[in-house]
Each structure stands twice: as C-alpha cells, then as structure tokens.
C-alpha cells in the first residue's frame, strides 16, 4: 500500500476550505435560488461523502477538484472547478453538483483596438446540478447549469439517456438541452438581449471486440435571438487605409450540425489504449470545420498512467465574414467575430495520473496551444494602417487536480 504524502491526508480539509470559500463568495452576492440550491447540494454531498462514505454504498461516488491556468501572454484565465457525485439508494440514483469559476484578465487584439482601457477583467461563475436514475438497461439524467458573469447570464437545462442492447455491446444515447441566455453590456445598463439555444443529439457506441469499440455521435444545435456581441465591431476599411468600427449585425438564427466518429483500441500486451476522433462540423452561416484528435494512453503500473494527446482543428470562414468590409459595398450582415474567420489551431497535451491509497488520485495536465488566423488582422491602432498584421497566438495551459473515489 502506498503511503499518502501528508498533503493528501489533509486533502479533505483542503477541500472543505475550498467549499467554505465558495460559500463565502456566494453569500456576498445576490444569487438565484437555483444557484444557492446547487451550491448547497454540492456542499451537502461532500459533507456526506467525506466522513461517512460507507453509508453511500456507492460505486460511482467521487469528488473532483481541478485548478487550471491559461496564459497566451495577452489573456490569462484562472479556472478552479469542483465537482461532487454520489450514488445513493442502492446505486439506483445519482446526484451530482459542481461549481466552476473563470477569472479572466485580457488585453487581446480586439480589446486593445476597441476597448476604452485596453484591458478587461471579468469573473464567470458556474454552478451545475444533476439527478440521474439507473433504470433497467440504461440510465436517465436531468441536469441544470447556471452561469453568471458581469454582462452575461446563462441557464441550460438538459435531459439525456442511454440504453444498452445486445448484452451491453451496443449503447444508444439520446440527449436534449434547452438554454436561455441574457446578453448584457457593462457600458449600457439598459441593454439586455435574449439568446435561446436548443440542442438534440443521438449517438451509438458499438463494442467491436474485446479490445476495441467505435462511437458515432450526431448533434444538432440551433441558436436563436441575439447572436452578436454588444462589444464586438465590424471593421470598415477607409480609403486612406485606416479602419473604423461599426456595431456588428449577424443573422438571428444559427443552425449547427456535427458528426463525430471515435475509435478506441486497447493493446492488451503493452497496456496501451489509443483513441482517435474525427469531427465534422457545418452550419447555415457557411462555417465548415474538421477536428482530428488522436490520443495515446499507457498504464506504466497499476498506480500510474500517462496520456498524450493531439488536436488539430481547421475551419472555413462564414459566408458574410470579412476581415475589413469595403465602405462602398456593405452587406446586410457585418461581423468582427474572429471565430467566424478562417483559422486553424493545434494542441498537444500530456496528462499524468497517479493513484494514491484510499481512493485518492492526483492528476495534472500540460498543454501547448497554437492558433493562426488566415484572414483576421490585428489592426493595432485603428488609425495607423502600417501596424496591421495577421493575428495568431500561442498559449500554455497548466492543470492540477485531485480526485477521490468512494
């Protein structure tokens, strides 16, 4: 038996401290009933699980805390996330709750060019809760996610289920979610626009043999309402080479579709598993994309494993996107959203996992991320055409997490 280092013996105390901090933060602000309920549930689950884990009789109960740090030299994001899940009533019911924060400081190209202070900072808080039932031949789960930041409020409700067939060799998944977002503006207190999101998905997972399985998933998402940003501006090139900005105007509906094909293979002799995923995406704004995501995982011992993964993403621009619009031939739809331009990204990540005694796990993740825009220009100072350059960035992401299984 591996002896846990002192820090992990004290991890429950650390976890409680984190939770108390979250409660303290929430108490200082006006929160909705749903948020208070989910945070209370999260706290309650943790309270039940830590000292009295035996009474849960659970095989799937766990809690997970992860802190993530993103830095691309222009934007820094600190993201602590905590999740707890408990299986109760003879594993017939699962209850879960989570809390996440994204603390953002940014001086990205858009912000430098158009924001009054050249730098912004914001904090996003998200609470989530789920209730699942293990039913005959499958499971059914309902969930809610509430997210809040200074100028954006989002609520998403979901229901999803899976059913097993042919001795659990085939699994069918169906999902449905509905979201209601309020887009606001920190510079205009009266600004409040609604965006609705609906999503439906269907997936099939097929075990091919003892060492491989294949999964295919189709998802349809439709967004309706205000899909622009009150801060973003479309750039209009002037005859002297300088650029002015006008508020963007985009269609009020976006229908997104994607198909993901995933193949997982486990090499028994070498204790290695490979996973390869290909995702194709298209929408009615003309954006097409492909994502390739191979992953390699190896168990070095029964307590230590490591994953290496890559991701390549490439997309075309939307039909109405232009880096700079021509003042003499303006189209009805104008956008300054660089995620609607043509670009590609690459990511390489490594994730070690160390299993400790008493169900504890510690895991980390280091990622190197690269993004290059093909037709989005960092215009620098808008009145100076000489400092324009194609935009791109590289980022490092560090994550550290602890997990306790019961």
């Amino acid at each position: 038996m591996i002896l846990s280092p002192l820090i992990f013996r004290r991890a429950p105390q650390f976890f409680f401290d984190t939770l108390f901090l979250i409660i303290k933060i929430l108490r200082n602000q006006k929160k909705s009933f749903v948020e208070q309920f989910v945070v209370g549930l999260l706290f309650g689950l943790t309270l039940v699980q830590l000292p009295f884990s035996n009474i849960c009789e659970a095989q799937e109960s766990n809690f997970d805390f992860i802190a993530r740090y993103y830095d691309d030299s222009e934007t820094q994001v600190i993201s602590p996330h905590v999740n707890a899940k408990a299986s109760i009533l003879n594993d017939d019911v699962t209850v879960g709750a989570g809390y996440a924060m994204d603390i953002v400081t940014s001086s990205s190209a858009d912000v430098r060019s158009w924001a009054s202070q050249g730098k912004i900072s914001d904090t996003r808080r998200e609470v989530s809760g789920s209730l699942g039932a293990n039913l005959e031949g499958g499971a059914l789960t309902v969930g809610v996610v509430v997210s809040d930041e200074n100028d954006y409020h989002s609520q998403t409700y979901s229901i999803g289920g899976s059913r097993d067939f042919f001795d659990k060799n085939t699994t069918v998944d169906l999902g449905l979610s509905m979201g209601n977002d309020h887009v606001q503006s920190s510079s205009d207190k009266g600004f409040d626009q609604v965006m609705k999101t609906g999503s439906m998905s269907v997936g099939i997972t097929q075990v091919l043999n003892k060492i491989s399985l294949m999964q295919i998933l189709y998802e349809y998402t439709i967004q309706s309402g205000y899909l622009a940003s009150p801060y973003r501006a479309a750039r209009i090139g002037q005859t002297d080479g300088s650029v002015i900005a006008i508020s963007e105007n985009v269609p009020n509906l976006r229908a997104k579709q994607d198909v993901t094909l995933k193949y997982i293979y486990y090499a028994l002799g070498s204790s290695m598993a490979t996973s390869t995923a290909v995702r194709l995406y298209w929408d009615n704004w003309g954006v097409r994309s492909i994502t390739l995501e191979p992953q390699l995982t190896r168990d070095f011992s029964k307590d230590f494993s490591m994953s290496l993964d890559f991701r390549y993403y490439r997309q075309t621009q939307s039909s109405f996107y232009k880096d700079k619009y021509d003042q003499t031939s303006l189209s009805p739809f104008l956008t300054g959203n660089k995620t609607l331009s043509e670009y590609w990204t690459g990511l390489v990540g490594i994730r070690p996992v160390l299993k400790l005694s008493y169900g504890w796990e510690i895991y980390g993740r280091v990622e190197y991320y690269m993004l290059k825009y093909t037709n989005f220009t960092d215009i620098g100072v808008p009145s100076n055409p000489n400092d324009d350059k194609l935009y791109g960035l590289t980022a490092q992401v560090f994550s550290l997490g602890i997990l306790r299984n019961f």
Partner: protein, 283 residues
C-alpha cells in the same frame, strides 16, 4: 398348577401366525419410523426438497421476454443463460398463434421490482422446483404492442402547432423507430411535414415509462415565408422530445412531454419548443 394348553397343530399354526404378524408389525413400525426420521432430517437440513414453487431456468442464449403471450407483443427484456426466473406452472396458450408461453417474473431497476413477462415454451428452458413460492398471477399484465399507430399533437410557442400520424415499431426492447407524416401549422398556414424518429423507453414503475426521442424530417410549403420569415418551399426540421408514457395495456398508450423543434434552411430558421401529447393504438 399351571395348565398348558393342549397342543394342537391348528393352535400351533395360529400362534405362529400371530407371532409372525406381531413381528411383521414391529418391522413395519420400525420401517415407518425410519422413513419419518429420514424425512424429518431431510426437511430440517435440505430446504430445496420442500418444493412449493417453480422457477424457469434459461438454458439458451438471448431468449426474449415478451409483455404478452405472443411474439407479436413488445419485448421487455432479454435473458442471460443460466438466469432463473419465478414461473407459473400453468402454461398460457399463445395469443392468436400456435404454442404455449411460460408466465415469468423478471426483476427490473430501479429497486429490483418484479414485472410480469412471457417466454415461449419452445425456447431452451426448463422448470426447476424451488422453495420460494411466488403468487405470479397477482402481478399485472401489460400486453404492450410491438407496433402501433400513433397520433401526435404538439403546441409550440409563437402559436405554432404540429399534428402527425405515425407508424412505430419496437425492433428491440425499449427502442422504437417511427415514420410520421402530418402538418406543421400556424393559425393561418399549414405545411406538409414528414420525418422519421428514433426513441428509447425506460420502465420507471407500474404502467409508466419515460421516453426520449430524436427526429429529423422535412417540411414542404406552398411557397416562401410560409413556415417562418425566410422559409423556403422545402425546409429541414430536427426535433427532440422527452416525457412520460402511460401504457394502458391491451395495445393503448398515452404520452405527454416536451418537444423542441428547429425548422431551418441554409439562410435562417426558427427554434420552437412546447408540449406534445400522443395517443397510441397497438396493431
């Protein structure tokens, strides 16, 4: 002086017979006592011999449990080899088909509740006696239809409606496929709607089940802007639903739940959500 009876051959014969009979009675009583002792010990130490009920032992692979005494009823589960199910010894004649069915109890989640099912007697199964006696006839029959005609009506936001007639079939236990045609309606306009649907069903207790569905389809209109501002004569629709179904037995079911529908084309579209009720009549 004690007088001895006079010896006679007949008297000797009678006495010998009596002695033999007495001996025979003693042997008989001894034998009976031994048998009772063995039985008593057997009853004390071997519960299995005290058989009052029966169970069906599944010897074949993938034997289907139906919700009624016919393969035309909807399957409610598939058994594993070696599984033992409480069974009624009285076979049930197949409904409108040749052959008999065993009436069995299957355990279902949540809570491992027992549910009545039927297994064809022609399958690889055998009966085994057991000490556990289940009053199988006290459980309710559900007799769910394997295929049905379904009438659906949905009330969506912005005064939009859907009415559709569909044919659904359960090719696997708790997974259905449906083809439907109908109309996408507003207060003043109607468009032809057609699509297919895949759905899963979960028994949650008694006659109630929960369902999830996913349905792509097409809407055909007389012209542009009929379905929504910017719609074309041919519009795609993708919709999903979730809700509860009440299986009334004898081929009828009623459901109600949420429906979310996205009508869209390459330029624009509309996202609608609302309530849907359905009525099913089994075939």
């Amino acid at each position: 002086m004690k007088k001895f009876p006079r010896f006679t051959w007949s008297g000797a014969t009678i006495n010998m017979k009596r002695a033999l009979q007495q001996k025979s009675n003693e042997v008989f009583i001894l034998k009976i006592t031994k048998v009772f002792a063995v039985l008593a010990i057997t009853l004390l130490f071997c519960d299995g011999m005290a058989s009052t009920g029966a169970q069906l032992v599944i010897d074949g692979e993938g034997i289907i449990v139906y919700s009624g005494p016919s393969v035309k009823y909807r399957a409610i589960g598939i058994t594993d080899r070696g599984q033992k199910l409480p069974v009624s010894l009285q076979k049930i004649p197949g409904y409108k088909e040749v052959g008999d069915f065993y009436k069995v109890l299957v355990k279902v989640k949540p809570g491992n509740r027992k549910r009545l099912g039927y297994i064809s007697s022609s399958e690889q199964v055998r009966i085994e006696h057991t000490s556990e006696d289940e009053n199988i006839d006290s459980y309710q029959d559900f007799l769910l239809a394997k295929s049905a005609v379904q009438l659906a009506f949905a009330v969506l936001n912005d005064k939009n409606y859907q009415v559709a007639l569909g044919y659904l079939i359960y090719p696997l236990p708790n997974l259905y496929l449906k083809a439907f045609v109908g109309q996408a309606l507003s207060l003043t306009r109607a468009s032809f709607l057609a699509g297919i649907e895949v759905g899963v069903d979960y028994f949650i207790g008694g006659p109630w089940s929960a369902y999830l569905s996913f349905a792509p389809g097409m809407v055909f209109s007389n012209g542009s802007d009929q379905l929504f501002l910017g719609s074309k004569p041919v519009t795609q629709v993708i919709q999903g639903g979730a809700g509860l179904r009440y299986n009334a037995g004898e081929h009828a079911a009623l459901s109600f739940g949420l429906l979310q529908a996205g009508y869209f084309n390459t330029a624009t579209g509309v996202l609608l959500s609302g309530m849907m009720i359905t009525l099913e009549v089994g075939l």
